[in-house]
């Protein structure tokens, strides 16, 4: 270690992206993940088809982009991972920061498992190993799923790729922000786009592709009057953009201080949605082909989203397609790359949080935390009970954890601390696209109302109806248990001592009475 304790002057300067393009690519790599490919197409189809685009676009502009900017502002102004940044905002905020870091921990544990599955299926594509019944192959031969519970029966076919994903991710993280995370994104993001474009073009030339596109894009206008469709649109935008659980705070903190924030933010947000539209076209053209082969209509198909779409429906389609192995390799290769670049961003939040609090180097943090996380992840998700645990943890971490985190951040910043103006001033002072008072309204009023409604209604549903028919004790342990673990760990980590206090910090640019928030003219 080079840093001497307690001397801010000797503190190592913060790591940085090499520039604007590096930051944008990494942020797009983070936002474009599994959800873009396997969630958006099905959600759009089920919620009004073409008409869904209207609430989707409204949600992007009124919630997605404003919350993205809120994350940027917090991370960039207070220059740290969530615990550091929120602590510098207000002393007690550190706990909210650790809450976000711990959400990332839980998500990282199972997200790696899904990437490991995708990697396995990339290999299986070449000899169509799933055979004639991909559904039975996935839960039976591949995952060897047992009844929900806790088991230590490891499945080697999952354990080996899972360990491999962890090793590669740890190596990337050890290399640091510019030489590791950014470089991985510079390689994988263009590769992902090219691979997926080839897949989409191929899909468009399949028999029945047009039926698939008709199914996806034919509007059902009555959906616009259904509040659940609007909630689905806000959820899709919200979960897709990697916002409100620390990633964009952390990524923005690695931008140089004199850096444009809002204009690159628009590029990131629109790039994410662009990939979703592309995925919608590719997935539904392919589903149209499948329906055509089966002699059914697209609405009669099952397994149109998530794990079912990717690991059951798509393998079945690949088996029936001329040149299927190549198509399968492109699909699962894309899924692996999209997932991996998102995983890196999730892990970077954790790594940065621990680096700052405990004075670790990127290398130490990646090795130590990565090793512990890898072991826990392998114990939980490479066993015969992994699928149930994954599904449950995912549902709770996202719908309870991230949504609560967003509501808390917004209420804390805008209502409790009344710092919305300061953050708007910060964004306007460094950026080329200036935000008006509408931004504070969207972030402080609209977002917490919609997300708060989503949170409460979800909690009510989960308590009254359970989830996926899983036993109540299991949901209590794995679902609510994950949330309890996140909260407890956040409190414990907040209580521990800082290796080097982050409190000796002066935000720049200065903000106070007399400073024009709209930044038409700023006194220096």
């Amino acid at each position: 270690m080079t840093a001497s304790s307690g001397a801010p002057a000797a503190a190592r300067p913060r790591e940085q992206w090499t520039g604007q393009v590096g930051f944008i690519l990494a942020a797009i790599g983070s936002a474009v993940g599994l959800g873009n490919i396997w969630r958006f197409p099905g959600v759009a189809y089920e919620n009004g088809g073409g008409a869904f685009l209207i609430p989707y676009f409204v949600a992007l502009l009124t919630a997605g982009i404003p919350i993205l900017f809120l994350d940027y502002a917090i991370g960039h102004r207070f220059r740290g991972s969530p615990p550091t940044a929120f602590r510098r905002l207000t002393r007690g905020g550190e706990a909210l920061g650790w809450f976000q870091v711990m959400i990332c921990v839980v998500i990282a544990l199972y997200y790696t498992a899904v990437i490991a599955w995708a990697l396995s299926y990339f290999v299986f594509s070449f000899d169509l190993r799933w055979g004639d019944n991909p559904g039975a192959f996935f839960t039976g031969e591949y995952l060897q799923v047992a009844d929900p519970g806790i088991s230590l029966d490891f499945v080697p076919g999952v354990l080996i790729p899972l360990a491999a994903v962890w090793v590669i991710a740890i190596i990337v993280l050890m290399a640091g922000v510019a030489r590791g995370v950014q470089r991985a994104n510079v390689i994988f993001l263009p590769l992902l786009v090219v691979a997926f474009l080839i897949l989409v073009v191929r899909a468009l030339f399949l028999d029945g592709a047009v039926d698939g596109l008709n199914a996806l894009f034919t509007p059902d206008y009555s959906a616009l009057a259904d509040p659940n469709v609007w909630i689905a649109a806000y959820s899709q935008i919200f979960f897709s953009l990697s916002i409100a659980f620390g990633i964009m705070i952390t990524y923005a903190s690695y931008r140089k201080r004199r850096a444009n924030l809002t204009a690159p933010g628009f590029v990131v947000a629109f790039a994410n949605s662009s990939f979703e539209i592309l995925a919608g076209i590719g997935v539904f053209a392919t589903l149209g082909f499948f329906a055509f082969q089966q002699g059914v209509t697209v609405p009669e198909l099952e397994g149109l989203t998530g794990v079912g779409l990717s690991f059951v429906t798509f393998p079945a389609i690949v088996s029936q397609m001329p040149g299927g192995p190549l198509f399968g390799a492109l699909f699962f290769g894309s899924l692996t790359m999209a997932g991996f670049t998102s995983l890196l961003s999730i892990l970077q939040v954790i790594s940065a949080g621990f680096q700052e609090k405990f004075g670790l180097s990127p290398r130490q943090a990646a090795l130590r935390i990565g090793a512990v996380a890898a072991v826990v992840s392998i114990l939980l998700f490479s066993t015969t009970t992994g699928l149930h645990a994954l599904d449950t943890a995912d549902h709770w971490a996202n719908n309870i954890g991230i949504v609560a985190s967003a509501v808390l951040s917004s209420v804390l910043v805008v209502w409790v601390l009344r710092r919305g103006g300061e953050l708007r001033h910060h964004l306007n002072a460094v950026s080329t696209f200036r935000l008006g008072g509408w931004w504070t309204f969207l972030v402080g009023v609209l977002a917490p109302v919609i997300l708060g409604y989503m949170l409460v209604s979800r909690i009510v549903t989960l308590i009254s109806e359970g989830y996926e028919g899983l036993p109540g004790w299991y949901l209590l342990v794995v679902g609510w248990g994950a949330v309890a673990f996140i909260v407890l760990a956040a409190l414990v980590l907040t209580a521990l001592r800082w290796k080097r206090s982050p409190d000796d910090f002066v935000p720049w640019p200065t903000f106070g009475p007399g400073v024009d928030t709209d930044h038409k003219e700023v006194r220096s």
Partner: protein, 55 residues
């Protein structure tokens, strides 16, 4: 494709991909603000620290 579906496919492409293109062009026309307040220079003294190896 049916006319209605085609319209929405085209709309989606024009709005979302067009939005991406517009935001890229906007960023390229002015990559950085020219009215950033004084200060905020980053400290690069230790950016390329000697390689540390655990032995």
């Amino acid at each position: 494709m049916t006319g209605e579906a085609t319209i929405f496919l085209v709309l989606a492409i024009v709005i979302v991909w067009g939005g991406l293109l517009a935001s890229i062009l906007f960023l390229r026309s002015r990559p950085d603000s020219d009215s950033i307040p004084e200060g905020g220079e980053d400290d690069h003294r230790e950016d390329d620290a000697p390689v540390e190896r655990d032995t």
